[in-house]
Amino acid sequence: MILPDALFYLFAFLTLLFGALVVANPFSRNPVTSAMFLVLTICAMAGLFVLLNAFFLAAVQILVYAGAVMVLFLFVIMLLDLKEEQRRKINLFGIVTGSGAVLGLGFLLTRTIWGGDFSQTATPKVIGDTKALGLELFTKGQFLLPFEIVSVLLLVAMVGVILLSKKELK
């Protein structure tokens, strides 16, 4: 089949393009525009998940990230009215640290891909099936502990935010 391959390249290209436009848009330095391109990046990534047969992940990606998290981002950006952000010039420190991080990540990724063995094709364990995903997460004991720890971590973060946002504690 040629179509899935073509779609993969299309979505991968769009993900990278939109991702680049989030941080370095030559036409606009408006934070809302950046946020909207991040939404498009997330949608293109959901397309990649669909091509991997991970329909559940694709739907959740759109639902949680594009539909909820980014709306909150937009909400905050619009409330804060970031005018200075648009006027700010790119400074040297940002360029150096940013490119340093990119180089480090690129090095790690290339090393991993270089060292990988591509001669054999693996069949995915979980194929977009919610039941299989749920069993994997909740019963086998394999991912149960990490999953629950992440949940508790989120709870801690939420309690912390409420604590910080309270002006005076009784």
Binding site: V60, A66, A68, V71, L74, F75, G128
Partner: protein, 378 residues
């Protein structure tokens, strides 16, 4: 139909999908136009007025009895409304953010139509299933798309670059997220009972085990169906309330509340751009009504006369589509009726209801349903 058989399976699939999209979108747009008329007529009825009764077409208006009757019914008003919104001046204020100003109406309109794609609106016609895309994660797809709908309103508020629309946009983003949570959690009991996310499977389950809103209806009597009745009622009630908030209908139309915000997020819009927000709102109502029908009221099935089985003839297939439409229209009627009966909530009341009433109730309902299912063990 020889030329159809000569096509490859993929080409046939593409052809039938296109056909279904055309057959759904066309009537949907017409229905949207007539839902506006229904709204005007119902509001007139409730407020003891006559309602739209003026437009008469040159030739048809001359037919005795039928012509005047249609005029009195306001039958041609949607047509004239449509023409009017196209030929009005499309004014773009000087201070708006142009790109978002143009994009926002389209972004508001598209998700409403995309939701319809996964709704099974009938059983079968010939060999074709009456659903555009029979997705395995159907319901999650729906919620994903519905959650994108808020961008149209938020961006419209932002694009207008003035105070009232901006407040409308801000309000809508907070409101939609709050009620999306309640809505998403209210359907979890349905999945627990059905055990599948596919909307066709959910309807199939309801055909055998009774409607989700009231499992005794069509499901036969057993301890489990009896105990599931309160769960079903509760989850439907939460979904129903959240659907009003998600479609920005009274009593939750805070994003546009005329008396406080002029027109809310679409204050600066005119002509067809305003029309697109309008169409989007009504298409969203149809999507909400279709979702309620599918998730809680058995979709195209009725538990009498063997109407809960997939159709074996074209007539029965058409009857199934008719049943689905009838249920959907009933919900549309309720949407319209409620709008003219209830006053608007205050904003803090809206948030209070969403976060401190509906979400805890929905969570409790999940636990209750899980307990019932575990104890009565199927």
């Amino acid at each position: 139909m020889a030329w159809l058989d000569s096509l490859t399976p993929q080409a046939q699939f593409a052809f039938f999908t296109m056909l279904k999209i055309a057959c759904v979108l066309g009537p949907l747009l017409t229905l949207v136009a007539y839902a506006v008329l229904a709204e005007r007529k119902v509001s007139a009825l409730i407020q003891d007025r006559v309602g739209p009764n003026r437009v008469s077409l040159p030739l048809i208006g001359g037919i005795p009895v039928i012509g005047p009757f249609l005029t009195k019914l306001g039958f041609w008003h949607p047509l004239v409304d449509g023409v009017k919104s196209f030929i009005k001046e499309d004014f773009t204020p000087a201070h708006v953010r142009k790109i978002y100003f143009w994009l926002a109406p389209a972004i508001a309109l598209v998700p409403a139509f995309l939701v319809i794609a996964v709704i099974p609106f009938g059983s079968t016609l010939g060999s074709q299933k009456m659903v555009i895309a029979d997705l395995n994660v159907g319901i999650l797809y729906t919620f994903g798309i519905v959650s994108l709908g808020v961008y149209g309103i938020v961006l419209a508020g932002y694009a207008a670059n003035s105070k009232f629309p901006f407040l409308g946009g801000i309000r809508s983003s907070a409101q939609m997220i709050s009620y999306e949570l309640a809505m998403g959690m209210s359907v979890v009991p349905v999945f627990l009972v059905v055990g599948d996310l596919n909307l066709s499977k959910i309807i199939e389950h309801q055909a055998h085990n009774g409607w989700n809103v009231f499992p005794l209806f069509g499901g036969g009597f057993s301890l489990q169906t009896l105990l599931l009745v309160p769960c079903g009622m509760l989850s439907f009630t939460i979904f129903f309330v959240a659907a009003f908030a998600e479609t920005n209908r009274l009593p939750f139309d805070l994003p546009e509340s005329e008396s406080e915000l002029v027109g809310g997020y679409h204050t600066e819009y005119s002509s067809m751009k305003f029309g697109m927000f309008f169409i989007g709102e009504y298409a969203n109502m149809f999507a909400g009504a279709a979702m309620m029908t599918t998730l809680f009221f058995g979709g195209w099935t009725l538990p009498f006369f063997g109407l809960d089985q997939a159709a074996d003839s074209v007539w029965k297939g058409l009857l199934h589509i008719g049943i689905f439409m009838a249920k959907m229209f009933a919900f549309m009627g309720i949407f319209i009726w409620v709008r003219w009966m209830l006053p608007r909530f205050r904003y803090d009341q809206l948030m209070d209801l969403g976060w401190r009433r509906l979400i805890p109730l929905a969570l409790a309902n999940i636990i209750l349903t899980a307990a019932v299912l575990a104890l009565t063990d199927r």
